[in-house]
């Protein structure tokens, strides 16, 4: 039987996990047929607006086209 282990949440992870939760919630609306199938889906374009700063290895908004 596996041993019980207490998991300590690293600092700042709580907020990040809320963002994880939002991403997973948005996924629910993506698994079926796309909505507004004759419209314009800009999700990829929004995501590509983030780019990596090579000096800090952090993603910054506004770097995409």
């Amino acid at each position: 039987m596996a041993k019980l282990v207490t998991v300590t949440l690293p600092e700042g992870v709580g907020n990040d996990l809320k963002k994880v939760l939002k991403i997973q919630k948005d996924l629910l609306g993506r698994l079926g047929h796309p909505a507004c199938y004759s419209g314009f889906d800009i999700l990829f374009r929004q995501e590509s607006d983030w780019s990596v700063n090579p000096k800090t290895l952090e993603l910054e908004q506004g770097g995409g086209r």
Binding site: V5, V7, I23, L28, A35, C36, F40, I42, R45
Partner: protein, 514 residues
Amino acid sequence: MSTRRRSSWNKVAAVKPAPGRQALPAALGVGMTYAPRLDAVIEAATGLLDLLEVEPQTLWRRHEGDTERYVVDSVLMGRVAALPCRKVLHGVGFPVGSVRPPSAAQIPPLLATIDALAPTWMSEHLAFNRMAEGGRLIDTGFLLPPRQTDAGVAGAVTAIRSVADCLPIPFAVENGISYLAPRTDEMADGAYVAAVIEGADCGLVLDLHNAWANHRNGRQRIEEFLAEIPLERVWELHFAGGMEYRGYWLDAHSGAISEPVIDVAREIIPRLPQLKALIFEMTPSFLDLVDESTIIRQLEILHELWGLRPPEAPRMSIGSLRRTWPGDAAGAPTPPQWEDTLGALVIDRCTSGVLAQEIAADPGLQIFRHLVAEFRASTMIGTLPFSGRLLLSSLGTERLEQMLADFWRIAPPEAFGSREARAFARYLATMDLGIPLLDELLAYDLAVVAALTENASQQVRFRHDPRLVLGCIADHRMPDNLPDGDFVADITPDGITFRPAGAVATATSIALRV
């Protein structure tokens, strides 16, 4: 490791269809299109929403096997059913403008959806979204304009009746948008719509933004379009906002209703004796760019317009015109040729001939191609959110776009997001990209897709704390310098728990169906 539970997702009982035409109900009022991402907006707008327009196929899941089969996500459906207003259905996956009737596989889940939501009527698009290739039908990734000839009308009438006669509620079609130039061998947009809905004896969802965008893009003038369609068959008006792109006005559903559309509505609403509903449409991915107050304001505008309706007239018994269609001129492109050629050009498949040359010379084709590409790329990043973001940040936009374009050349679009995600994941598995963390993030994304579409429970191993890895990606930060370890994400249809390998307890879990 994967385990499967007995599916409970399709428990909603099918209702027995009542053939024939059904009477229209009393007026419903003002509403908007439903999407899970719009839950908060819908809650904030409760006092302004008389009804919701539900796109049924967005609540379905496509079975992963080769057999075409759809199941209703009954949890999601139950949530929609509980929303306290009337519903109408607006199909997005099985358009009725093709000479190839839409798949009968949609009928059982459609009846289940009708049973669950008790919608007042259903509508579908007067468009096509499949093409024949190598003896099979493949998806075109977008709703495309049908062939507007006598043969095209006859085919659409048959397609409409093939669906409408199976349903226990009234059926209507929506006028579409085309970015192509009008053709001299086709009837005008208004005459085509009129011939189809009179031939099929159905209602019309008049999308004013589509009609106005067609006008703006050089097709029929909207005044002429409105003069040609039978206004007494208009049950519902659609409103949306758009945007300019390469000289074309896109039916983008991007937010505030375009002003000229409101002006047209003021003119036409007093002439619509059977108008029952006004619907505001918005693509969910624009939600981050449009604030809630803007959406509320659009609904207020629709309530002002609602007051312009004429006194409700008794429904005229119109009946089918029972026309016969003589068919197209000899040598002219037939509707199947049109659908296969336009579809092939839009999704970059092999095609040739005079018609292909004519369509390829139309700059509007590039608009369709651009919109399909954006849809497919957005589906990838939306269904594989963590691995997709990692790819984007590791490869950059241009290189990822090139990879996607290479993939699309060998893989036609999959209409359902879960299948598109899996197809791209299979493609990725053939490549050696050398991107750290990609394998475990892709496994994680696919496991969540499987949990939500197939009721499958899975474990995914991580070499670093998955809360840190996923949290960094969610926060648009690159995971870096993470301590090594051995971790597990337990993914079930209900939620995800994160724990060190070997532990049974966890301090961290997230619900999947919130």
